[in-house]
């Protein structure tokens, strides 16, 4: 046994190796991405691995592999499970032969997400088991059990770590790695795999019949446990349980929930032994609702009577506040230290030399009074540049643009979408917009990689997840095949060229596509591109502020003059923008 200090996602990846995983796929999304990023860089891989183009595609691939009897892992973030919801719901009916673990990482507080939905609700909805770890070690320990449970009950298993598990670290006891040894073998059985009405009605009944035994097995597995210490009790789930354990004084009973569905009889026995029960869990009141069902006359404190919030993430301070409000003492009261007021915010910002900034600059220059739908990616930060009016979910820039265009809104509509997002769920929107005759412009911000989640390759990159060369897809050909009337590719560092193209697009009707293609500046630096830095000729600089308004973190304004700091990546766009030619390459006069 080895002990290592690991990120939650690294520990989860290692546990998959210990479980002898055979098939790995998923779509990147914070906070889930490092599981596959860890597995794809393992030496001597004996398992199949891919980054799929979206979560639905990933889950269907993993499900099919599990039908063939191999152990499959499919990873995504919580909102990715919406994309994969269609196969998820029916995979519970068809079941699996090999273990299928679907990791859907939740993001309470929406650190890097568009909402705070709770994967446990999907598990409840689909009637599949769900594991909700309270620590990095527990996340690790659950994985082999999740594969075994999936095989025992023939059901996919949802594994739901949150940001504070995925991106937490701890000293973790690891087990031995087991080489993948299974080979797929598909046993034809139309009654299981062809869900026509006559089959699916029976499959639905079988799914429901699995539930009682499943609940009993989860009690036996011991991830749900309790200790009776007094007449009052706290029931907590997920990472919330770790915070409670830190604050819990002697004399209060404690129940920890980490696996669903919960066995009601087991729960009722505990609740009925107490005079008062407080439920602490992040997001949806999944545990609380069942506690209320079995509580009888025992008073229950939780979200439903205002003692705990429905939204946001828990923390030791938040848990202490809930405990105090519900009349439970904490071991040591936390000091209420308010932050220093009015410290200037430091939000994330597009990198110096990012192609998105110059593309947005050109868009705003040509389409001054327009509506700017956008999408999910680094470029959502274009909000700071006034170039993002909407973001809802993956692929929804093009569809929102066509909806606005068809609504009668008189302004021009120009939307932005990244290459990975376009390939994820953007193509259908483009096809639909062309088919239905929308008047709009689409700018594909093509940086050749899935940048925001940590630079995972996609079909546009030229290599797959394992580093094997693959032919880069032609975005131009896809857009032309969808029937777009105007498709042009430009390097957005060439602001003048891009402005000219946008003006040309603006004159035309129909769906126009401009592919703004330039490598992500982080990837460029990693691959050795050195463009040389720029500097301000202080004699020529008039302090007009044109370059500062461009919003590049490499450009400062000190003593009424612009100044370029060491973050400069040499994209030279600011040199192009300066009306006085005051920005020049270092080393040149």
């Amino acid at each position: 046994m080895e002990r290592r200090y690991l990120l939650g996602n690294e520990a989860i990846a290692h546990a998959c190796l210990e479980a002898g995983v055979d098939f790995v796929c998923g779509y990147p999304g914070t906070p889930s991405s490092e599981v596959i990023d860890t597995l794809r860089t393992q030496p001597d891989r004996s398992y199949y691995l891919e980054w799929s183009v979206n979560e639905k595609v990933a889950l269907e691939n993993a499900l099919a592999a599990a039908w063939c009897g191999v152990r499959a892992l499919c990873t995504m973030k919580h909102v990715g499970l919406n994309v994969a919801a269609d196969p998820l719901m029916t995979s519970a009916y068809t079941g699996v032969t090999g273990g299928l673990v679907i990791m859907s990482a939740d993001d309470p507080f929406a650190h890097s997400s568009q909402n705070e939905q709770d994967t446990r609700c999907y598990a409840h909805f689909a009637r599949v088991p769900c594991f909700d770890p309270a620590s990095v070690q527990e996340a690790h320990d659950m994985i082999p059990k999740a594969f075994a449970l999936s095989e025992e009950f023939g059901l996919p298993v949802l594994f739901r770590p949150t940001t504070r598990i995925c991106h937490s670290k701890g000293d973790v006891e690891l087990g031995e790695i087991v080489k993948s040894s299974r080979r797929g073998d598909f046993h034809k059985d139309p009654r299981q795999y062809v869900v026509i009405p006559a089959h699916t009605r029976i499959l639905h009944r079988k799914l429901n019949e699995k539930q009682p035994a499943l609940k009993k097995r989860l009690v036996e597995l011991g991830f749900n446990r309790y200790e009776i210490r007094g007449k009052t009790a706290i029931i907590a789930s997920g990472i919330g349980a770790s915070y409670v354990e830190e604050l819990l004084p002697a004399g209060i009973s404690f129940m920890k929930i980490a696996a669903y569905p919960i066995d009601e009889d087991w729960l009722a026995e505990f609740v009925q032994k107490h005079d008062k029960v407080l439920v602490i869990e992040e997001l949806a009141p999944e545990v609380e609702e069942i506690v209320r069902q079995v509580a009888g006359n025992v008073p229950v404190f939780g979200k439903k009577n205002g003692y705990a919030p429905y939204e946001g993430e828990l923390s030791p301070s938040a848990v202490a506040a809930i405990m105090e409000k519900a009349g439970f003492p904490v071991k040591t009261p936390l000091s209420a230290n308010p932050p220093v007021p009015d410290v200037p915010a430091r939000p994330p910002i597009l990198c110096a030399g990012c192609l998105h900034r110059s593309a947005f600059y050109a868009i705003k220059k040509v389409y001054k009074d327009a509506v700017y739908p956008s999408d999910i990616g680094c470029y959502t930060l274009g909000l700071q540049l006034g170039a993002v009016d909407t973001t809802i979910c993956m692929g929804a820039s093009i569809t929102v643009a066509s909806g606005i265009a068809h609504s009668g809104e008189p302004r021009d509509v120009i939307c932005t979408i990244g290459d990975s997002t376009f390939l994820h769920t953007g193509i259908q929107g483009l096809l639909n917009a062309v088919y239905n005759g929308a008047n709009m412009t689409v700018v594909i911000l093509d940086n050749r990689i899935t940048a925001m989640t940590g630079h995972q390759p996609n079909p546009n990159t030229g290599a797959n997840a394992c580093g094997v060369e693959s032919p880069p897809v032609s975005l131009d050909a896809i857009c032309r095949a969808c029937g777009a009337s105007f498709v042009e590719t430009i390097d957005p560092y060439d602001v003048t060229g891009m402005v000219n193209l946008l003006q040309e697009a603006k004159k035309r009707s129909g769906v126009k596509v401009i592919i703004a293609k330039q490598m992500c500046v982080i990837m460029a630096r990693r691959s050795g591109v050195r463009r040389g830095k720029y500097r301000v000729d202080t004699e020529a600089c008039t302090g007009c502020g044109t370059c500062v308004r461009f919003g590049c973190p490499a450009i400062e304004f000190v003593d009424e003059k612009a100044r370029i700091n060491e973050l400069c990546n040499g994209c030279a766009v600011c040199a192009d923008l300066c009306p006085f030619g005051a920005i020049v390459r270092e080393g040149k006069k």
Binding site: Y5, G170, Y243, K331, V343, A345, P348, I349
Partner: protein, 194 residues
């Protein structure tokens, strides 16, 4: 509340806070101690304010509550002010004197407190202020400033300097071991006088 020794490392995405926290975690392993940590990943790393929590001896959750940190290590003066409420009374603060100006200061003309005002505001804590960039450059590479910072804070941690140095050597790129070892010792010499 907890028996852990709680260290908060703060800075700006890209400054090497994650490597610094990994070094502390590795040092805990070397000393056979439990450790918990939490950090910022994803888009927030793009030049944004970032934090790493490290709880030496921690066995529960990874988050340090405000008012509980024993030690704050800040790679930037403004970030030290932003997170100063995490420090407990009598806690120690090791701060890089440099301040990266947030872009909003130029684009939206957001008012920025002066260096003197920030240092005055931090005066109520046990403050160790250093010029980590210069010290790192002298050690051989400005990239080693995170290790300089750890060196300067080493005396305030319940970890042996030898364990920290061994962790540095294990985790930094092979080619930079000597530079980082020098950076650690330079920081440690400075921190000893704070």
């Amino acid at each position: 509340m907890s028996e852990s020794f709680d260290i908060l490392i703060v800075g700006i995405g890209g400054q090497g806070t994650i490597l610094a926290s990994n070094i502390l975690g590795e040092a805990c392993l070397i000393e056979n101690r439990h450790v918990r940590g939490a950090e910022t990943h994803g888009m927030a790393q793009r030049g944004g304010s970032v934090e790493s929590h490290i709880r030496v001896g921690g066995e529960h959750g990874p988050l340090i509550p405000p008012g509980q940190a024993d030690l704050l290590i800040s790679f930037d003066l403004l970030e030290a002010l932003r997170y100063s409420h995490y420090l407990k009374q009598g806690g120690k603060m090791v701060v890089n004197r440099r301040m990266v100006l947030p872009t909003s200061v130029f684009t939206q003309k957001v008012a920025l407190p002066s260096e003197e005002a920030i240092i005055a505001a931090l005066g109520k804590y046990h403050l160790c202020l250093l010029d980590a960039d210069t010290m790192a450059t002298e050690a051989g590479s400005p990239l080693s400033q995170n290790v300089v910072m750890l060196g300067a804070a080493a005396g305030a941690m319940p970890l042996k300097p030898e364990s920290l140095l061994e962790a540095v050597k294990r985790l930094v790129p092979k080619k930079t071991v000597e530079i980082n070892a020098r950076a650690f010792e330079a920081g440690r010499a400075f921190g000893g006088q704070c």
